[in-house]
Amino acid sequence: MKGLLIISALGIIAMLAEIFKFKKLLLPIVLLGIVAAYAFNFMEWNTSMSISYFDNMIAFDKMGIAFSGIILATAFFWFILANDYFEEDSNTVDHFALVLFALVGALMLTSFKNMTTLFLGIEIMSIPLYVLAASKKKDLKSNEAGFKYLIMGSFASAFLLFGIALVYGATGSFDIMQIRTYVSANSQSLPLFFNVGIVMLLVAMCFKVSAAPFHFWAPDVYEGSPTLITALMSTVVKTAAFAAFLRLFMVGFAGVSEMWTGVLAVVVALSLVIANFSAAMQNSVKRMLAFSSISHAAFMLMIILANVRSNLSVNALIYYSLAYSFGSIAAFGIVYNVTRNGNQNTDAFNGLAKRNPTMAFCMAVAMLSLAGIPITSGFFAKYFVFTAMITTPYKWLLILAVITSAVGAYYYLKVIIAMYFKTQVAETETIQVEKSQTLVIVLTTLVTLVIGIVPGLVANMFKV
């Protein structure tokens, strides 16, 4: 909880920075703040019962803390990565503030206990992102991205709210624990519209985690937005969305899983196919990563689908989010540096192995991790999914997953081949990367490898 408060405070401080002229100090302050938040966050780890606030609207249980931990860590690295992005822009502080507020939303999503906070969390997280997506004022692409995100986002929230309303109507409460108990008490006498409500919620959440067929916004927004914002979306936002998804459906509606698992399976299948096959066709790396994030969403959904009632899925999901977030941070950091000259296509990477071996290596690791090759963390993430799925009746989904991840290897390798095999055609300038950014990229890469070699560090951590 304190973490949440600290971040909100940081947001406000950021806005004051303009007035009190300590712009330069802002980044260090923010970083310190995040570290502090992180520390406080984990102080609450060992408090036996989860303490709840605001009339039990928010409560940080282990699961919440874990996800917040991931989000904060990612955010920390993200800020270091983003420092020069802020400098090149006039109204820095607004961006700082916006990102921080988005963080607040994200943290709320990891720990909501009540539909209200769910809704608020989603909005607090999304609205700043709409702005950030469109933050390149002159760039029409950026504008379009923001606009699309906004329209479709709010359209989705409408469904979310409709769903919430229906569930409320059926159960007479917004509190997910009460909903759970109510549902399990009289599961026979639930009105039809309760079911509709759940479907609506499912739809809205699928939109947020960008699962097919509600993924259409993702590629466009990822491509249009400034690269670092894309990074933010595919890491922090996604993690938060999944935390919310997990909590809502595994805590709230586990009792009526038969109402939504079947649908979810279809969604997963669609996402797998659409994401991987379109990704295979992309020239723009950012767009490719967008589709890859969709396919990873599908994998994470499989975890939820696989074992609705057990905590194994929580562990697995946490591990997956961590692996994916760090992989993406590294990847996007490199993409950000490589595509500075505006060329976002794969051939921008040609001959990177010669132009900047370190970056090339890190990118290779990131790609292999996203492709799920040992000994990267991405492999263990996949492994968890497979182990989870093998026990379910959805074995066909598993086979589909195997095939599509083979397809996945196809487009990740394209980047590696470009870096190590193709030779830069036009200018063969070496790519200079700032020390701090290099540090971040190397660090995240290392983490990807380390938790890939010793997954125990994470996988055993959360006895939720």
Binding site: Y383, I390, A406, L413, F421
Partner: protein, 486 residues
């Protein structure tokens, strides 16, 4: 502990090379690889001839909560494979002394990473660990081919990678499926024996499913007809040393895998589908041999001949009897050595004459009789003439297949004839007769090449005349395995 050393030392060597970036990486690499071979010999020395298999255990928990252990040990089979690997890698490095590679320290480093992974595959006694090493072996060879390979390596290595990955993902599913059926005091376990018991407890249909899930991966790696089409192009386009690694050692991952990770797991599945798999292998033998006959590029010819050989090996293994499997082991060793020699010869031809086209070459024997002799002996090894290393394996293999089915054996035996056809034809075209292209000169061999060929030839003959030391290990370990198959 020694086992662990065997695995970690190459990693160390790789690091040394990566970091030192020395000008003399070649020699350093050679020295290190020899050290590794000595370690292997030490293991060979320590290895006690007692049938109840695994020795030199090293076992620590890796991911406790998932029952994953870093569990390596040496039994007869793995010992043989380790000896092969550690013996071939120095030869491979030595054979590269005449090739110039950009950033060679990376090249040799990757070779060592590869060696580490391979030894891991051969020693792993934990299903998960096995899979990890299995995938790990793919990455260095992928980069070796991608960075130092020939013309259109991009597309080809890519196909190779995706193809093999596709296979191994299915294997992962199969293994997980078995893992999921293990039950040790209510806990799941990745230990190989638990997987065995789990596999045996399955119904026939389940076992069949697992059989195919896992066999596909191995079949692609070997490769077995009709999953072989990645292989010739990859072999041709990879740098010679890469090809040697692929054919000399990596191919054995597949065959070894079938012996250790498939046969004892799913006896019923084998019973039901073994015949089909053998059928494919045997068809592959004749098919590949025929194709080898009409090859013009000598390297490609060897590639196809290697498909034929591995077809025989896998057929022998799947016939699941003492002779078949023991023959397979012996043939794996023999093939490893011979194929290194053959690919080096292909490389030498290219370096000296600028072509590998059998029709352009000719009359080299009159220019360098010594080379001709070495070449001939290696070929005789490849066509399994008695008193060469190839014969023992081939005899036992055909014997084993015969016990499974006489006609299969007869058909597989055609390799005896066809092998002679393509090997002698190509030899005659390349070496004998008058030289076709007058300006092709063929000087004396570089000493490094000479040494490799000498060693290979010596091994071919020595191993063919007196196979006992290795054969005994093979025999007893297979006997042990047969108990598991009952």
């Amino acid at each position: 502990m020694l086992t662990l050393l065997l695995i970690t030392f190459p990693l160390l060597a790789a690091l040394i090379l990566f970091l030192a970036k020395s000008k003399t990486s070649k020699t350093i690499a050679l020295a290190l690889s020899v050290v590794e071979f000595i370690i292997a010999l030490a293991a060979f020395g320590l290895y006690k001839h007692n049938p109840d298999a695994c020795q030199l255990w090293f076992n620590v928990a890796w991911v406790q909560s998932l029952g994953i252990h870093f569990n390596v040990a040496i039994n007869g089979m793995s010992l043989l494979m380790i000896l092969l690997t550690t013996f071939l890698v120095p030869l491979i490095i030595l054979s590269s002394f005449k090739n110039e590679y950009a950033k060679e320290y990376n090249f040799y480093g990757l070779i060592f990473v590869m060696q580490m992974a391979l030894i891991g595959v051969f020693t792993a006694n934990d299903g998960f660990l096995f899979y990890v090493f299995w995938e790990l072996a793919l990455i260095p060879i992928y980069f070796i081919c991608l960075v130092w390979g020939g013309e259109n390596r991009g597309a080809i290595t890519f196909k190779f990678f995706v193809y093999t990955l596709f296979g191994s993902l299915f294997m992962l599913v199969g293994l997980i499926y078995l893992y999921n059926h293990t039950n040790v005091e209510g806990l799941k376990s990745w230990a190989i024996n638990d997987l065995y018991t789990a596999g045996r407890s399955l119904t026939e249909t389940q076992q069949s499913a697992v059989f195919w899930l896992i066999f596909i991966a191995f079949a692609i790696k070997m490769p077995i007809f009709p999953l072989h089409t990645w292989q010739p192009n990859t072999y041709v386009n990879a740098p010679t040393q890469g090809t040697m690694l692929l054919s000399g050692i990596m191919l054995k991952m597949g065959t070894f895998g079938v012996i250790k990770w498939l046969l004892p797991m799913v006896p019923l599945g084998l019973e039901k589908w073994g015949a089909t798999a053998i059928g494919l292998s045997v068809v592959g033998i004749v098919y590949a041999s025929c194709i080898a006959i009409v090859q013009k590029d000598y390297k490609r010819l060897i590639a196809y001949s290697s498909i034929a050989h591995v077809g025989l090996i896998s057929a022998g293994i799947l016939s699941a009897n003492q002779q078949g499997i023991q023959g397979a082991l012996m043939q794996m060793l023999a093939h490893g050595v011979s194929v290194i020699g053959l690919f080096l010869i292909a490389d030498i031809l290219l370096r000296h004459t600028g072509t590998r086209d059998v029709d352009k070459l000719g009359g080299i024997r009159s220019m360098n009789g010594n080379f001709a002799l070495l070449f001939l002996i290696i070929i005789l090894g490849a066509v399994a003439l008695p008193l060469t290393n190839g014969f023992i394996g081939e005899f036992l293999l055909i014997n084993g297949i015969y016990q499974f089915n006489a006609w299969a054996a007869a058909f597989a035996g055609l390799t005896v004839i066809l092998g002679a056809v393509y090997m002698l034809r190509s030899y005659q075209n390349i070496m004998l007769g008058e030289r076709k292209d007058s300006h092709i000169a063929f000087g004396s061999l570089a000493s490094s090449d000479k040494w490799v060929l000498y060693i290979v030839v010596i091994v071919i003959i020595a191993f063919g005349v007196y196979p006992k030391p290795l054969n005994d290990i093979a025999e007893e370990s297979v006997k042990q395995l047969m108990l598991n198959l009952k």
